[in-house]
Symmetry: C2
Subunit: 325 residues, 2 copies
Amino acid sequence: MRICKLHGKIRFYFILTVLLLFIVGASLTALLPKVDHDEVGVLRRDSWPRQQQHSLADSFTIIMQTYNRTDLLLKLLNHYQAVPHLHKVIIVWNNIGEKIPRELWDSLGPHPVPIVFKEQTVNRMRNRLQFFPELETEAVLMLDDDTLVSAPDLVFSFSIWKQFPDQIVGFVPRKHISAPSGIYSYGSFELQNPEGGNGDKYSMVLIGAAFFHRTYLEKFQKLPSEVHSLIDETQNCDDIAMNFVVAKHTRRPSGVFVKPVDMRNHERDASSGYTGMWHRAEHLLQRSYCLNKLADIYGSMPLQYSNIMISQFGFPSYANHMSKN
Amino acid sequence: MRICKLHGKIRFYFILTVLLLFIVGASLTALLPKVDHDEVGVLRRDSWPRQQQHSLADSFTIIMQTYNRTDLLLKLLNHYQAVPHLHKVIIVWNNIGEKIPRELWDSLGPHPVPIVFKEQTVNRMRNRLQFFPELETEAVLMLDDDTLVSAPDLVFSFSIWKQFPDQIVGFVPRKHISAPSGIYSYGSFELQNPEGGNGDKYSMVLIGAAFFHRTYLEKFQKLPSEVHSLIDETQNCDDIAMNFVVAKHTRRPSGVFVKPVDMRNHERDASSGYTGMWHRAEHLLQRSYCLNKLADIYGSMPLQYSNIMISQFGFPSYANHMSKN
């Protein structure tokens, strides 16, 4: 009888002890300081600040035309979908008759931003300059489907575009020169004036990596049909035409050049081996040809020169603005 | 008789021959192609293009205050007098009671531009911010009397100022920070936000090497007397005050920073050994003090941040804009 009673007491105190330990343990855990996952500056895996939501006025839309480089496109999209201030991505699908990768995209969701695939009926260079109804922001970021521009470059360049909203703000400057005969020719830095001695200048900023206002898409659509025909005939020069549109409208240099810190061309990475139109033999001569045709159509040369180069103060490091002394 | 006649004939034909040679020689010389001394690109001693005359709207006036560094001043003036687009030099003479070097200057004339020495009655830092009647251009280039800025830097910066005429366009960016307590402090690049990770920013461009519009001199004169007293008390902060004036007026960042290619400080070259006010122990602390006093007087902090850094495209060489790839 005494042994049974002892068992009962032991069981009772055992259960009581367990309960007490549990209560104490739970209390202590509740009293521990909370881990704040959004705390900036703490070097822990989950402490990178969450991206902010931005208003429509403070956002931009990527318009990216693609042809024969879907693998490259998808790789780039993993980067671009996460860039701050991005509202939406519009892919201009020039792979006529080929299925868009919608299923693949959705199966790998969710994604930071919505994407729209605009399937085209004809493979045209100027397809990307349509005024897409899905475009909700004022700012367009137009990108080639083989170019990777870093997020800091894009965010900084967007901030510059907001200060020069009627110009093309981008990373690729080019120029035209005017020969004594009055004939125009197209070039880049290698065409700087050897007798100038005062640096270089540019008269165009290419739209393969640039911000511009959506209204220029409307203006492009309203251009004389000869301009559209020229672009269709060459499958080239849509960007030169856009610079003409902007220069004519603003009566100022069409572009503002922002020097990129990290912009990379991945054309060699496409599994199709397709490296883009600019490798064609006639590509550059076409662009000179376009300059003269467009000046003819416009009745004058509206392009103006600029020599402003904008960089981000103190980025990546403050060595970028330190004087010699 | 026959011999005399022969002499006569010989003399006649001799004179005729000399005359003919002279006429032929003169004609040939006149027909030689003219040597154009202004021809660009020909490597001859006298072939550097002559500087152009610029309109008042396309010119600027240097205002340079000087104290105890006349030897250095005169060395700098030989450089500055020859900078393109310069209309006139105004020297604010803070060497009270000391003769201006007018005789020396005139004896070494002629000079490319006129110079005016404004003799002051009291040695004050803010003397340079008077609205001088001799000032005819809209653009003022204010320079410290120990700083040499290259001509390309100045001409480029002037072209930038013409695009941002209501801001201070110059070569020396500085910032204020706002402590959690609401107290302001003054600094430079070493004060960039370590938790930012997104480059640096500036909220002031100092007027010791900068272009600004002449109206800001008028606005400065009209500031409350407390501001003038603050500057007189510290013999400092006139440039901070000017940035407050511009920021308040434009409701934008007061300055645009142009990265200098060749700007040198010659303070160590003054024979007087005087190296300038900024070496005083209290100088930087005074500037933080001024920020707080000015914010108090203004009732708010009007200074705004910018991270735009402007450089001249392709100068000195096109390496300055070439991407990595």
